[in-house]
């Protein structure tokens, strides 16, 4: 759909005012996105947090694994802006380090789920017939699976095997990313399938077929770019959901262990110290909340910006 409107626009431009700046889908989307104040705030907040987590440890050089047992549970102070946890780890250093892992898990899980979802949805919608009915049956089946219990079950059962192969941290990371990714592709698949079903009958596909486009090129070069907008929105919101899933797992003690800091595992440590040192739980929890809130607002803004109907 986007391709059609874009070419229509260039058409009118060629005939009319040449001096005007070329409008692309993306510049239009940006114009629209800028009007959404909360989404912009979200982008700012998220950028600050991401930059802090990625580059922060270069500036704030305290070792997140260093123990200061004597200062354990000490509240925020000038030398340690977020205080110390129960074992005397510096909280800020851990929040930054844990943030890297939490954000990485969120991002990678979404890459998995979007890839799987797009492939299944595209094949289902493009080929139709028995391919469609088999793939959609599988999608329905996955939708009927109990998400959280299964997530817990698989992480618990398979974590040791993966730890042996990839080492403790990477093993858990790969496991969590795969489990979250492979349990969350269904909505994307349905979305992509629905768009493919209507797009494959359009004239531009017929035209592409006439000039001899191969099936993969039809799917990926011609139809897929038109499905991008809803997929981008789904991916954005998916990152937030994946971060929550990872945190829930670690919170329940089935994700990252307490000695590998992520926001979820820090929260899990903090919940036991809540009456004595609330800051241990509050800071990582606040980070999760801020990131998820920003992502949800960005997703909201993107939905408005990328939906051509809302631009009329």
């Amino acid at each position: 759909m986007a391709e059609v409107t874009a070419s229509a626009r260039t058409g009118t431009l060629a005939g009319g005012a040449k001096a005007r700046k070329t409008r692309t889908l993306w510049s239009d989307a940006w114009q629209q996105f800028r009007k959404h104040k909360m989404a912009l705030t979200g982008v700012t907040t998220l950028t600050i947090i991401v930059v802090a987590c990625v580059f922060g440890p270069l500036v704030y050089t305290k070792n997140p694994q260093e123990l200061n047992v004597l200062r354990g549970m000490e509240g925020p102070s000038m030398s340690a802006p977020m205080g110390y946890d129960d074992l005397g780890h510096d909280m800020l250093a851990r929040v930054l380090d844990g943030g890297r892992k939490s954000l990485l898990v969120g991002l990678m899980a979404v890459i998995v789920s979007i890839t799987v979802g797009t492939l299944i949805g595209a094949m289902s919608g493009f080929f139709g017939k028995w391919v469609d009915s088999i793939l959609m049956r599988i999608t329905d089946l996955f939708l009927a699976l109990p998400q959280l219990p299964l997530l817990l079950l698989i992480s618990y059962l398979y974590v040791n095997r993966l730890k042996q192969i990839f080492g403790v941290e990477n093993g858990i990371l790969i496991l969590i990313v795969c489990v979250i990714g492979f349990l969350n592709w269904m909505s994307v698949a349905r979305l992509v399938r629905a768009s493919f079903l209507s797009l494959k009958e359009k004239e531009f596909v017929e035209a592409a077929r006439c000039i001899g486009a191969t099936t993969p090129s039809l799917i990926f070069k011609h139809i897929l770019p038109n499905v991008l907008s809803p997929v981008i929105v789904a991916a954005t919101l998916g990152v937030g959901a994946a971060i929550i899933s990872e945190s829930s797992l670690s919170f329940l003690g089935l994700g990252f262990p307490p000695d590998v800091p992520t926001w979820g595992s820090m929260l899990s440590v903090g919940k036991d110290q809540l009456p004595f040192a609330p800051h241990i739980a509050v800071f990582p929890g606040l980070m999760i909340f801020l990131v998820v809130l920003s992502i949800n607002y960005i997703g909201d803004g993107l939905r408005d910006a990328l939906d051509p109907r809302s631009r009329v």
Binding site: D140, L141, L143, A144, L145, P146, Q147, L148, P149, L150, L152, L153, I154, Y156, L157, Y158, N160, R161, G240, I244, S247, S248, F251, L252, G253, L254, L267, G270, K271, L274, P275, P278, A281, V282, G285, L286, I288, F289, V292, L293, N296, Y297, D300
Partner: protein, 319 residues
């Protein structure tokens, strides 16, 4: 309609069978042996261990094991818990009441908050009320329950000292006083879970109302001189609630997912916390049964959502 429900029920059964197969094979293909406790015990000679294995059918091929498990599960024999040596059915049965009590209250609270606020926010779109309600809802569903739960404990139990944060199923008093006590214990988990549910549902309600409010039939109703209250309640709400009720049914399984987390935070002795402790103790029979019960609930909720949709919306064709 009747045949539609029957056909829908019939498709739910193979779904459940396949799901149970998936869960069963995940458990079976996992590394680790249910007999590892015995293996570590030096007083059990290897021959005896082999005998036990054969008696328990652990050497059978997985499909055979599955059929055995499935048939006895359907008959109501859910096996024995490894760690507490009591029947799984008694364990789950003793816990599920608490879960349903807390979840049910949370669900009702969520509906009571979400539906009126959602309707009102849509009717007064862009008003201060609408803006506050949508912003609060947006914050509400961005805050994961494990964090809002901790914040609630921090505020209501530790700072203010109003409510207990550790759930106790045995109340000290009998009768009415005991009931009050039960509600007090349930207050925090119900509030946290109920508000989280309400946040998402309120957004759906508002969106669905807004979609309907601008349609032609509403203008017609107004043009006929029906007063605004009747237009909203009698016409708009009736149509707007068709998708909302479906969403409510579809949210039920999510409530069980939320239960696992809230039960852990507030130490509610329900099936969610039983699942976590059983996972930690490698108590396969209990884990298997709980995960499968939750699967049944998920499939059942989907079924209910479809059927309600069919009843409420006569435009749906059943063929």
């Amino acid at each position: 309609m009747g045949t539609y429900i029957i056909r829908r029920l019939l498709t739910a059964i193979p779904t459940l069978v396949i799901i149970s197969m998936i869960i069963f094979s995940i458990l079976k293909l996992a590394p680790g042996d249910p007999m590892s406790q015995f293996a570590a015990n030096p007083s059990v000679p290897p021959e005896v261990r082999e005998n036990i294995r054969r008696q328990l059918g652990l050497d059978d091929p997985i499909p055979v094991q599955y059929v055995k498990w499935a048939t006895s599960w359907v008959k109501g024999d859910w096996g024995f818990s490894f760690s507490s040596r009591s029947p799984v059915r008694d364990l789950v049965g003793g816990r599920i009441g608490t879960t349903i009590f807390v979840m049910g209250l949370a669900f009702v609270l969520g509906l009571l908050i979400a539906l009126p606020i959602g309707i009102l926010a849509a009717v007064k779109q862009y008003s201060v009320f609408d803006q506050v309600a949508t912003t609060v809802a947006f914050f509400g569903f961005s805050i994961p329950t494990f964090f809002s739960g901790l914040l609630a404990i921090l505020l209501f139990s530790i700072k203010l000292g109003w409510l207990p944060f550790i759930y106790e199923s045995n109340t000290a008093h009998a009768g009415l006083l005991g009931l009050v006590e039960r509600f007090k214990f349930a207050a925090l988990p119900v509030m946290v879970l109920g508000l989280f549910q309400a946040a998402g549902l309120m957004r759906y309600t508002r969106a669905s109302m807004l979609e309907n409010i601008k349609l032609d039939y509403v203008r017609t109703a107004r043009a006929k001189g029906i007063n605004e209250r009747k237009v909203i309640i009698g016409h708009v709400v009736r149509n707007a609630f068709i998708p909302v009720i479906t969403i409510i049914a579809l949210q039920l399984p999510g409530l069980f997912g939320g239960a696992i987390i809230t039960e852990q935070i507030f130490r509610v002795p329900g099936i969610g916390s039983l699942l976590i402790t059983s996972l930690g103790a490698s108590d396969t029979p209990v884990v298997m049964s709980i995960v499968f019960i939750i699967s049944i609930l998920v499939v059942l909720s989907n079924l209910i959502a479809d059927v309600i949709y069919g009843i409420l919306d006569p435009r749906i064709k059943y063929s």
